[in-house]
């Protein structure tokens, strides 16, 4: 147990130390002299700031979209559907997790393509699909992570005893009021738990944007392009600080809400 935990943390430490080094631009050899060149480049050049903000934006939109879609679905599943239907629905929401992430992305690529399903369906309405690009990426990511949002919310709602809701009703609250004042506060940690997944998964994703993103790039691509392609581990490691810091911050903020118990 110990060696595994430690191996993971140790490897993170190794990687982040490399962020302070640089590579010889011609041979690619690692120069182990501490320098903050990488961080300076990341902060000073506007393109990195732009891409970072863009990625944060995409991650946020994906989270919001998923939350908006997942909440009513989860409410239906937990409180309205019959017990038998409930099991079916949970299974139905879980099944797509087994369909390969890549294939789902590829399915969206064919759907969004010039001669794909989306354009074919929208044509009679005189509209056109978004094609490849940032909206397509956001759409696809929101699609991919939806089950990760639905399930924690469902679990959270499930834990709310019906008696509580009936009591609220007895005290005179309408359904809307009950939802706003009783259900929402109780399900909030679960909502946040789901958001951890959608947010971090979106922030770290570099593959989907390559499949449906057209010419756009997200921050994770910068990390990947520098490690997988340019063999510049120090720069990639420095860039990796960004999502890690964001997520660790998010997790610390979120700990108070008790979301971590709801995962």
């Amino acid at each position: 147990m110990l060696w595994l935990v430690v191996a993971y943390l140790g490897s993170l430490v190794v990687m982040f130390t490399a962020a302070f080094w640089r590579v010889d631009s011609f041979t690619g050899a690692l120069i182990r002299v501490p320098t903050d060149d990488n961080f300076r480049a990341l902060v000073e050049q506007s393109v990195y700031r732009r891409v970072a903000l863009r990625s944060l934006g995409v991650a946020a939109v994906v989270t919001v979209v998923d939350a908006l879609l997942a909440l009513p679905m989860a409410v239906y599943m937990a409180k309205v559907a019959s017990p038998r239907l409930r099991n079916l629905l949970v299974a139905a929401v879980l099944t797509p997790l087994w369909a390969s992430y890549l294939v789902k992305g590829y399915a969206w690529r064919t759907m969004l393509s010039g001669d794909g399903v989306l354009n074919w369906a929208l044509e009679p309405l005189g509209l056109k699909g978004p094609g490849f690009g940032l909206p397509a990426t956001t759409l696809t990511l929101a699609y991919l992570w939806l089950p990760f949002m639905v399930l924690p919310i469902y679990a959270g709602l499930d834990r709310i005893p019906d008696s509580l809701l009936e009591a609220a009703g007895d005290l005179g609250a309408t359904a809307g009021r009950t939802f706003r004042t009783v259900v929402l506060p109780l399900v909030f940690p679960a909502l946040v738990a789901g958001s951890i997944f959608t947010f971090s998964l979106s922030l770290g994703d570099y593959i989907m944007v390559k499949i449906v993103g057209g010419r756009s790039q997200l921050f994770a691509n910068i990390i990947y392009d520098n490690i997988g392609v340019a063999n510049n581990l120090p720069f990639a490691a420095a860039a990796a600080f960004f999502p890690v810091v964001v997520i660790v911050l998010y997790l610390t903020l979120v700990r108070r809400t008790g979301a971590l118990d709801n995962l």
């Binding site: 399915a107 990796a240 971590l260």
Partner: protein
């Protein structure tokens, strides 16, 4: 909750709409696996079993599938063992740094896969470990442990220690208690965790890319390499369609089992 008929209707609508959104792309994949056109123009021009036959004969797919299954089972096995142990430690004992541990454990799943991948790659390279099955399994185990840990922890917190203490009072030693009292309570949580861990490992591409060796391909790696290839893309589609269909069984089973404990939980 007393909901008006309109509200129930609206919710039902959103539910089915959501399910439609979820399943339409999967249906597209399924239909395309029979599409006679190689490049999936829509609407499909013809119907054919050709791709299913080609997939059955495809060597690369078979090997990748076997690799994925082996890796998945290994990672899930490790995760079950270590995740349960860790959950017990956190739930039952107080020790220095307990909060930190429960925070750290989330990291593999919260941090982007690419970070985990690069870190492990750098560490393995620096340590001189040969890349292969072991490195891939280790990479997968990091996030599989989290999944099992969460499930078991939640269950332990809910069931409490009273039954165990009662059993010990009645004279059973630690192992007997575990086998006869604790384990049965945990069983469905373990199963749900194992299934999810296996699913995550089976579908994992990012960390695997950084921890595998040239000859070793898991199914997602194979898919990624063949995704756009004109002659292989239909095979990829078939693989995906087959996975979707095949996955209904374990999901259903997991659902039945964890339904005793009021619904699925990640």
């Amino acid at each position: 909750m007393t909901l008006s008929r309109r509200a129930r209707l609206a919710l039902r609508l959103v539910m089915w709409l959501g399910l439609a959104v979820i399943y339409v792309p999967l249906l597209v994949v399924l239909i395309n696996s029979f599409n006679s056109s190689r490049t999936f123009g829509w609407p499909p021009q013809g119907f054919t079993w050709r791709w299913w036959q080609a997939t059955a004969n495809n060597d690369g797919v078979r090997r990748a599938l076997v690799t994925s299954v082996i890796v998945g089972l290994a990672a899930t096995g490790i995760a079950l063992l270590l995740g349960t142990m860790l959950a017990f430690a956190v739930a039952r004992y107080r020790f220095f740094g307990r909060d930190v541990v429960s925070f750290l454990v989330i990291l593999p799943i919260a941090l982007p896969g690419i970070v985990t991948g690069i870190a492990l790659n750098a560490a393995f390279t620096a340590g001189g470990f040969p890349f292969g099955y072991l490195t891939v399994v280790v990479g997968h185990a990091t996030f599989c442990i989290v999944v099992v840990y969460n499930n078991v922890l939640a269950r332990l917190r809910r069931t409490g220690t009273s039954l165990e203490e009662a059993s010990m009072d009645l004279g059973a030693n630690t192992f007997r208690t575990f086998a006869l009292v604790t384990f049965p309570q945990l069983r469905s949580a373990l199963l749900a965790g194992a299934l999810l861990a296996f699913a995550l490992s089976f579908d994992e591409i990012v960390v695997t890319t950084f921890t595998t060796s040239p000859g070793l391909q898991t199914l997602p790696i194979w898919i990624f390499g063949n995704l756009f290839r004109p002659n292989q893309a239909p095979v990829v589609n078939v693989v995906a369609a087959a996975l979707i269909v095949a996955s209904i069984i374990p999901i259903w089973a997991a659902q039945r089992l964890s339904s005793e404990s009021s619904g699925g939980r990640l």
